[in-house]
Symmetry: C2
């Protein structure tokens, strides 16, 4: 069976209007979600109650709590729709089982995991090696579409600064570029 067919067979289409959560921290959700349309954000609420943003998810990407799905732990983060979204829910276990039976599915699952890994690797690098200002510049370069569709406050929490901090960084950057 190929991956497309598998998704058709074991996936359920989900409609997720703006503001609604796909899943929440603490949930027991072992699904993977394939975003077809819309925009999602994955975020943490820390012990101190503060929000930080793990990632924005754009169409044709996959989101899910791997730890939760693979090792049956509780989700460590939340996912909410920033725009009306359509996704397909795929029970992770079904994917794993299909890996056994189909090389094509195995390759595709591998590709998904690799792409997630590579993204996280880049993000790790940015936090380790770049200043907040450099992270902002990198974000502008690589994700100009998100600059349009996401509030500045959310961009700040994604970059690891406060909204006030990001406002200052922007001012600095745009001054120096003129």
């Amino acid at each position: 069976m190929n991956f497309e067919d598998l998704v058709k067979k074991v996936g359920s289409p989900i409609v997720c209007p703006k503001q609604r959560h796909v899943f929440r921290q603490g949930d027991d959700d072992d699904n993977l979600y394939l975003l077809q349309q819309g925009l999602l954000k994955a975020y943490y609420i820390g012990n101190d109650g503060r929000e930080t943003i793990k990632s924005f998810i754009q169409p044709d990407n996959v989101i899910g709590n791997l730890g939760a799905a693979y090792a049956h732990e509780a989700c460590t983060f939340n996912v909410v729709a920033l725009q009306d979204s359509q996704l397909i829910r795929i029970p992770f276990k079904q994917l794993i089982d299909a890996v056994k039976d189909s090389h094509e599915v195995a390759q595709k699952v591998l590709a998904i995991l690799m792409s997630l890994s590579i993204k996280k690797e880049r993000r790790e690098y940015e936090f380790l090696s770049l200043s907040a200002e450099e992270r902002y510049r990198a974000f502008c370069d690589t994700s100009p579409q998100l600059l349009e569709s996401v509030t500045q406050s959310d961009i700040a929490l994604y970059l690891g600064v406060t909204p006030v901090g990001l406002s200052r960084i922007k001012k600095r950057v745009h001054q120096n570029n003129k």
Copy 2:
């Protein structure tokens, strides 16, 4: 074929004395390395020439530049031995090919990727949501063995602060704990 046998068949044992590099930033190395004995560090040299540390690798763990291995790109980081080490080099392509032929290998490769993903997820969370002092506390809790075997300077670069900064954090933490 099971995973053990595959490793025996396609893996080459490597001896890596202290200070020697396993691979370097810019190399074209599509192998995975399984550490059997010793201690490695994976680190970046940024554009400004500064070092930052991506991870420490302890026995029974795997290291390799996934992006380089999977997509045939140049390595984005360096790996060097902090202690005399023994590892097994496994061409990534052989693993991928074996995924097609063996469910057991597929499961194992999946498990390796999941464990890498989960580690990166935790690290991402720590950079996003914790202060440098909290990251240091977390490090002491989760990796007390590394506190012994790694210089303070390397711990600092791993935590995303300067050695001077870590010295101050330590002082603060141990004062308050007394």
